[in-house]
Symmetry: C3
Subunit: 290 residues, 3 copies
């Protein structure tokens, strides 16, 4: 039984094993290889995209899927997080996928829950399958990690994606930079000017501008953001020949990314979503020792 | 790959093929004939009856079902309709069933989405599987369409069912009339007095009185409506011997239809609901070229 | 075709057959023994725990599961309870599990609905699978019912569990007592002092303190309740050697049960939840004549 809790505790070899299994699964191997296993997706915080991606992954593996959304439910009424998870374990299911607002929620569970736990995002800490799908996309594109240069552009401070990705990418030999508005910057990372990043990086990874969070505190409008840090076709034309564009959707068309860039040749945005299903299949198989 | 978008673009032969396949499926042929296919039901507008009918159809074909309700979801947060559908396609599913408030929503998708699209209702325009289940019910009853006389009774103006049905039924050789309150009338169709319709029609198709829409503008009360245009047992007794009653549920008991008429000998209301599952199975099989 | 409506109409022999089948199912027999059957869970009142337990049971039997929650749905809009259930029957499903706020809702359905109905709770009247899982837990523990002494502690007056359990347990030869605050007492049952119950009973069954219902009318605080009637480890140590603790979750930690008692040696709380899945599998198999 293997949990998937934090990416930072996986060795390089474990990560490569997951990626290689995901690639085999994408090529059509291993369908129905977890046939009959019951997997419950327990979402204590809504995240439709992640939840449906896991659900499709489970269906492709032949699992039986139980979908639980805490917000829409009475199960949690006066009941602790631990008791809810323990209840699902008691139903006799084979694994749980959990998403929660609480950082490191799994610390309350490990050692007490006897089935594999797959982390679908904990607070602002980690979102291991999101990072794995980014890594799969990069690995399929370049066949390696060593020496690749990536700039992550946008709201670094509040981005779970940025922190988790930078840790694992550096460990795999990539060189990571951040870019975008000064107010979003995190001083621990190396900053690069956006237009310089465009010309020098192998990967431009855009982050979503979270208007709902920043509306009041942001000093620039959507239009200005697009002008200064939005990936336009004009900028795409200045990128290196083999460079690619990534974004952990959902994206704001014509804010951080121009409408016509979303599905341009260099964009791997929908490929990332596609890969999400296969890395999730791989970590589920891994959980069952497959 | 065959979409199902509008009934008006299907030839008579295509329609008859769908109906005949639906009848074979009802007789127990073809269960599990789309085994393992993943179908996503994307409902951007609630329509529980249609959604569950599709879901049962998919389950009977052996499909794996993904149910997405936009209202209850965060997927759409700041995301376009197109991007949401593209996301589901990227997950690697095999077909989408879509319901939307937007007329001809599929014009944004065709040519860009590479999997079959099955229209489960678009705005006030079309609802092809509803018309197909009506046609299946009539065909099973009379063994033909040519020469049959139908009166559609009630709120013609705002009824998607009425417009779609009249177009296809006329094309199949039926003679269509409308009846009911003058304020609901649509001048392009031939009007017949309700009590005359009762005695002369092969099919009386009642529409739902939409109180929520008409409460204020309606000049007659529910009780008056029932008295003037409601199908009572007294009126049923004046219908032709082989004539039948139809209604695209949900119905209002004791408004457009009397309580004891709902399940009387001439009523095909629950047979229509039953047939809905089989025509949906047929269009899904058709989508997969089966 | 066998409905499961009320426990009081089942003979002792029928009850023992269900329990023995549940035990066989728990041992791994009969998985997928209702393969391909379509079961709809129609919840007109939310009860997440019961609904998920049924869903896991159905999945383990190989059924195809349709989940309908009336609150979140438009199906019921202007539609009667009967018409909604009849609609699902018309879809061609094989059985319905129904939960409703209305006492004896099934009286509107029996004789008109031609598929098995499994009662997942009707108003304040009955909740047969809850009682069956309690009986299974007791039977597995003691190998018999005859002569066992149980005290049910807490809000007897408003507890569906208490009334249904006492009727069937007395019939199976058990001796039932009630205990807890005087204001919750029901005069038709024999009362026993809580601390006396602790020392003399084979089973202490705690009920949930329903703060949401009693907040205003309760004369004692949570802390006082815990002190006077809460099962603490100190009290557990005074229980008979083979005595066990039961609770029809969800429980309030440190109100009716101390935190460290929930998973202590004598507690069968999560075993009850576990057994719930197997008794539900057994009644579904019974419905299909299996």
């Amino acid at each position: 039984m293997k949990h998937l809790l934090q990416l930072s505790t996986l060795t390089k070899e474990e990560i490569m094993n997951i990626l290689q299994d995901a690639i085999r699964l994408e090529q059509g191997e291993g369908l129905d290889s977890a046939k009959g296993k019951i997997v419950a997706n327990l979402f204590f915080e809504p995240s439709t995209r992640t939840q449906y991606s896991f659900q499709v992954a489970e269906e492709k593996l032949g699992c039986k899927v139980i979908s639980f959304n805490a917000a829409a439910s009475s199960l949690q009424k006066g009941e602790s997080f631990y008791d809810t998870v323990k209840t699902f374990e008691s139903f006799g299911i084979d694994a749980v996928v959990i998403r929660s607002r609480q950082d490191e929620y799994y610390k309350d569970l490990v050692g007490k829950i006897q089935i594999p736990i797959l982390n679908a995002g904990d607070g602002v800490k980690d979102h291991p399958t999101q990072s794995l799908l980014d890594l799969m996309t990069i690995y399929q594109e370049f066949g390696k990690f060593e020496g690749l240069k990536i700039a992550i552009v946008g709201d670094i401070k509040y981005s779970r994606v940025a922190h988790t990705n930078i840790e694992v990418m550096e460990r795999l030999g990539m060189k990571c930079y951040i870019s975008g508005p000064e107010e979003y910057r995190d001083e621990q990372y190396e900053y690069v000017n956006f237009d310089q990043a465009i010309e020098e990086m192998d990967i431009i990874m855009l982050l979503r501008v979270q208007h709902e969070r920043h509306e009041q505190e942001m000093s620039i409008s959507k239009e200005e953001y697009h002008k200064l840090y939005g990936l336009t076709m004009e900028r795409v034309h200045r990128m290196k020949e083999h460079a690619i564009i990534m974004h952990p959707a959902p994206f704001n068309r014509n804010v951080e990314i121009a409408d016509d860039v979303v599905e341009c040749d260099k964009s791997r945005i929908f490929k990332q979503i596609h890969n999400g299903v296969y890395v999730r299949m791989a970590v589920i198989r891994r959980a069952f020792g497959g």
